[in-house]
Structure formats: C-alpha cells, structure tokens
Symmetry: C2
Subunit: 397 residues, 2 copies
C-alpha cells in the first residue's frame, strides 16, 4: 500500500531508476523517450534521484552540436546496507553497497537458542562496528536485512512457530533492531535470503530461480519473475516434506512417511552411514567422508541427489524455472550431489521445461545469506512501484 | 519494456488507477495523499484517465464547506474486450466489460485441427457479430484475448509444438487476427485463461491460486501474486507428467512411467472402466457413469482425486497457494473428485501451508476460458507499471 505524507517532488522516479539500474548512462532526452514522460517531468525526477544520491552524473556524451548533454547512471556507492544471516549455531554479517558488493564482513559462532535479545544485541553491536569499519556515516545506511533459520512472517518480520528457536516465536525483530539502529529493518527466512543473495550477485539474468539448501534439513528459496516468492503464508519452497516415490517405508519426524528430508538430508545420510558402522554425526561429517573418497558416503550423497532431483522434477514441471542452484553444506561434498539431481531431472521432467534449464552449484558461498539479507532491503527500497508512490528511503537514518 | 512515443500527459496514471480499481470513489486530495503525488500531478493524471474513459466522475462528497469536491471511480463500462476459448473440438466467445461481466456469448463445435486460418476466420467473423450484437462502436474494443489448447509462447502469441493442433506450430496468431480486427491481440494456453477467468470473476481476493483442469488430460494454471505465472518457457503448471508415488508400473505416452495423466485423467479412468467391461469412450462417459451412480466409476474418480491430490500436495508445500480450484469435465462427476483431492492434501501437506488453504470447485463454468481470455487483455492494459510508462491503450481501435 502506498503511504501518506511522502514528498511529491520525486514521485514517479521509480520508472526512471528501473531504466538506469542496468548501469548504462542516459541523457534526459533518452529517458524521456524511453519512459514516455514529459521532458519537464524527467528533469524533476532526475533532480530528486540526484538529491537522494541514487543516480550520479556520468560525464558528457557526443552531441550533434553545442553543449553536450549530461548523462546519468545508477550510483551503487550512494548508500550501504547491513545484512545479517543468523543460522542455528553461526551468525554472519555483511555491509554491501547497492550492487551487493561486499565492503566488510564478520562472523561468529552464535547459538540462535540464546533467544532474540542476546542474538540481536550481538547483531546490532557487531553491525555498528562493521559500519564504523567501512567509515560511512549513519545517514548512508539504507536499512538492515535479517535472515532467521525458521519460518518468518515477512510482512511483520516475526518468527512463526520456529522449531529450533526457543523464545523467538512472535518476537518483533524489526522493532527491537530499529530501536537501536533507526532505519527500515526487514526479516525473512534463511533459504529465501540465500536464494536472493545468489540471484542478486551471481545469476541476475535468470528471472525464475530455485535455490536448494541441502544441509541438515532441505529447503528451497524461490525467485519468481525476479522477486522472492513467498506464497500465501510465507511457507513457499518447503520441499523437505514432499513425498519421494519409492520411499514409503521411511518414517519422518513430521509424522508422515517418505518425506524428502527423512531420505536425503545430511542428517539422514549420517544416520545411514552410522548404521553401516561408519561414524558420522551430521552433514559436515558426511561432507568430510565424501571428500576423503569414502565410497559408501559418495554413494549415499549421489542417491540423495537423485531423491532431491525426484522432488525437483515435479517442481520443474510445475514452476518451469530458468535455473536451479544447489547450495548448502551437502553441496560441498563434490559433484556427486548435483550429478544425482541432474540425472533424475533430465529423465523425469518434460523436454519443454528442461531444454534451457540450467542446474548449477551455488557460487556466492558462505556470504550469500548476509548479502541476500541486504539485497532484500535494496530490492524493496528501489522497487519502482514503491518509488513511484513513496520516497521514504530518502529520510532514513 | 516501456515504448517510445506515448503522450507524456497521462504517464504515471497507473498508480492512481490501481487505487481506483477497488471501485471506491475518491477525491483529488485523497488520491494525492494516498499516492504521495503533488496535487497538480494528480489533476493532470485524472484528466488523462477521464479522457481515456477509464474513470468517471461519481458525484460529490460532503465537505467541510464551500463547493463539495468532485470524486472519481473506475468505470468498468468504459471499454469492452473480446475473449475466445478455442478448445480441441469446441470454440466459445464472450464479450465482457472491464470488470469481466459478460455482455454476450456464442459457441460452436469447431475442430482445432481445421488449422489456424479456418479457426481464426470463424473467431473473427463471430467475434465481430458479437460486437455488433452488443451495439458498441469498434473504438470501444480494448483488445482480443485468445486461448489455445496447447503450449503457447505468450510473448509472441504463437503455438509451440502443439500435439493436437496440426498447422498451428509457429503460426503468428496475433498478426493474423490484428489484420482483421485492428486492436491488441494476446494469446495464452487454455488452462492459463481458465485460471485467470476463475480468479478474475470468482476469487479475486485469493492472490495465489492453482486452477486444475481435470479432463481428458490434466493441467494446471497458476496465479501468483495476482498474475498468471508462466515460468521460463511458458511451461509452468504442466502437472500431468509429474510422477505419482506408488504408480511406477503404469506406462505413459510420454515414455516415462507413473505420470499423473496416465493414472488419473479422464482417458485413464475410461480405460480402466473398459477393462472392467464397462463401456466408456472418454471423460464425458466417465462423468455420466459417475452421475448415474456407477460404483466402479465413482471409485475410480475418487482415486483419481487422491492421485491428483498427491501431486498437488507437493505443489502446496512448494507454492503455498491460498486456494486450489478444481475444474474441467471430470469435476462435473460430483463431489468424489474434490473429496479425494482434499483427503490427500490435508494428510500430506504441511500444516502451515494448509491451515488457511481453501480447496473449491470451479464456479465460473463453461465461460471461464473466454472470460479469462478477455481478462488477460484487461489486466495487461490496466497494468499499473505499463500505464505509468505508456498509454497506447487509448489509441486502440
């Protein structure tokens, strides 16, 4: 919903910014022609974007005569964001510019079960230290993005019945952080911010992206038409409890049988290895065994890839993505996981949906979540529809 | 992409129209406050929307004194659209207003295999007759929407390798129709326009909708965040060849085994009945048998519902829809199909995704495709982002 009270001068700047975000410098005349806006309107909006520091003059272009016209382009250095990826046992912070380039990072072992105050206090303290480190004034901070390892109601930024996060249920994360850092604060689950981080930094040209996090559990973040798709209750992408054909006898902690997570997660593989007499406490042990060449571990990882591929094959027919990105700790076990995924998807999905489908390993690494948390703030603040209706991004900090 | 040459005066009208489409009358001051636009800007845009006939004055509101301010609201009678639902053996046309209210319909048995010229000539001839019947001038026609019974490249409006449509592959449908009716022409597949027709007329408040067409084949149209979701190659929603757990021995015409369509389509049920010595030539025979109380037919329809529910359970976890609408000829067999669907989805999907999930029978009936084809044109023409960049909807006809 558009909000009241935003200044009118730069309303409508969004359509211009959308054009400029590709980085190409353009003149006022070019922008007027491309948007259909009146020249005088373009001038007013350019002034507003310049005042907000979101675009910058880029020198001059050749002209047919007289004074060369000024050109303008997106200015990714204009503002910065702070992104926090809070995992079950580990937290990671990143400060990036508006293009997602990392200016500073920090991380620490941090138990999410310490509860919201302790974990967010750490986040605020180390976030502010990171901002000081990059030497930018508080007014440059566009906002804070936070990822949590459980279901989040994105509209309010509260965790909803998180299974591994005692004390977090219903806690108002944005309000708590905003009291300490007075900028917009947005919250989403860890898989969504990882999907956005990968999309934003490594695969911006793929509008329909599935990011699979295969680790202790299995989850999926969905980018549809270039934006995070969350579904009706924010539960979209919950692929861990979709039934795998042929695994009907495997019980799952959710009470059903044959769920993907009960069959193909890092925890499930570790359990299988232990049953075979090979010591494996969790997904990191599985990765280590696979990397050291353990044949039983490699076989199980490959089969997990096939099982994940079986569920993804349905998602491919249903969602017709342009790319599937495989990440999470299990993906560090080598090519066997992704090979299993590819094998089944190309066999089970329809040719029309797989002809141009790319299946790739995650590229952005451990920082993808923190970058994505920041990207969530950037995408929201620079959203053309929102910019056209309101410009409160100018008044932050 | 925004286009060149659109008049500047009404650029930015989209944000206002988006607000006005709920039907509530609003004053210029209210619109300025709600959008953050300057009062002078609002006045200019209101004038442009009035000139295009898309909004209308709605009398006067009470004021604190002096002359009461004028109010404006969306004017659904302003323009009309022609929608065509071209099936395998049957064609249906509808003329509606901008709210999807049907002004006139016509239909006929028409074999899609007659090829594009013959089928589109019929569409144009009877479409023009329908326009004459409602007595509106050609300038009132906003555009023509067409649904085809096979894969369509939505961006170009061409059929792509359609299995049951000889002569249609690659045919430029919009160009052919535009030569005869000079307005924008948009094309999509039959399931997408049915989904849009149901959403537009019966379930506008459900932003994330899955429409399942269970008939001779099984397909799904997806509404995500209020818009048709097509995926990377326009193949999204192709659920007929997703594997059903426990049906690994059933061969499918696609070359795989266990596909939903091989197990639960009207054709598959008819085959099962025939094997049991009950004469059934296709899905309409199945419907008739079920309606007359045939226990074997009812059992098979119920099991088909369960199998469809099995595949939808994965889609529910993955996509987290707010509603699933079950349509197509098989849905006319009574409550057994939807009962089977509900049974499995509520058992197999996660509580978070099903707590508020509605599962309902289609409401709009046989005309949903034609209404949806028209709605596709309306949604496109009234799309705020597009309106902000261009206003060529004014110059149609």
């Amino acid at each position: 919903m558009p909000r009241r009270g935003a200044p009118g001068a730069s309303a409508g700047a969004g359509a211009l910014l959308r054009l400029l975000r590709d980085g190409a410098p353009r003149t006022r005349s070019e922008l007027a022609a491309l948007t259909g806006l009146a020249r005088s309107t373009v001038t007013g909006r350019i002034d507003a974007l310049l005042a907000a520091g979101l675009i910058a003059p880029t020198g001059e272009t050749a002209s047919t005569g007289g004074r060369p016209p000024a050109t303008f382009a997106f200015n990714p250095a204009a503002r910065i964001v702070l992104g926090a990826d809070l995992g079950a046992a580990h937290a990671r912070l990143a400060v990036t510019d508006l293009a997602g380039s990392v200016l500073a990072v920090t991380s620490a072992d941090l138990d999410i079960a310490l509860g919201p105050e302790a974990v967010l206090d750490w986040t605020v303290e180390h976030g502010l230290a990171l901002l000081a480190e990059v030497g930018r004034p508080a007014a440059d901070l566009l906002g804070v993005g936070i990822g949590l390892p459980g279901p989040v109601e994105h509209g309010t930024g509260r965790a909803v019945n998180p299974p591994i996060m005692p004390g977090w249920d219903g806690f108002d994360v944005p309000a708590y952080v905003r009291e300490r850092i007075p900028v917009p604060v947005m919250v989403d689950n860890d898989v969504n911010i990882m999907a956005l981080g990968e999309h934003f930094t490594a695969w911006p040209e793929y509008a329909h992206l599935l990011f699979v996090k295969a680790a202790t559990g299995i989850g999926c973040g969905i980018i549809a038409s270039g934006q995070v798709y969350r579904g009706a209750q924010g539960a979209a992408g919950d692929m861990g409890h979709i039934r795998v054909a042929g695994a009907d006898d495997v019980p799952c902690r959710c009470g059903n049988t044959g769920c993907l997570e009960a069959v193909a997660s890092g925890a499930a593989i570790a359990k299988h290895l232990t049953e075979q007499g090979i010591r494996a406490g969790g997904s990191l042990d599985v990765v280590e065994l696979a990397r050291s060449g353990s044949v039983p571990a490699l076989r199980l990882v490959r089969q997990a890839g096939r099982d994940i591929g079986e569920v993804l094959a349905g998602a491919v027919n249903f969602f017709n993505p342009s790319i599937i990105v495989i990440g999470g700790s299990l993906s560090l076990a080598g090519d066997h996981l992704i090979a299993g995924v590819r094998e089944v998807i190309y066999q089970r999905s329809l040719p029309l949906a797989t002809r141009h489908l790319r299946i790739a390993a995650a590229r952005t690494g451990e920082t993808s979540g923190a970058i994505g948390a920041g990207a969530m703030v950037i995408e929201h603040a620079l959203d053309p529809a929102r910019l056209d209706a309101s410009t409160d991004f100018k008044t932050n900090g």
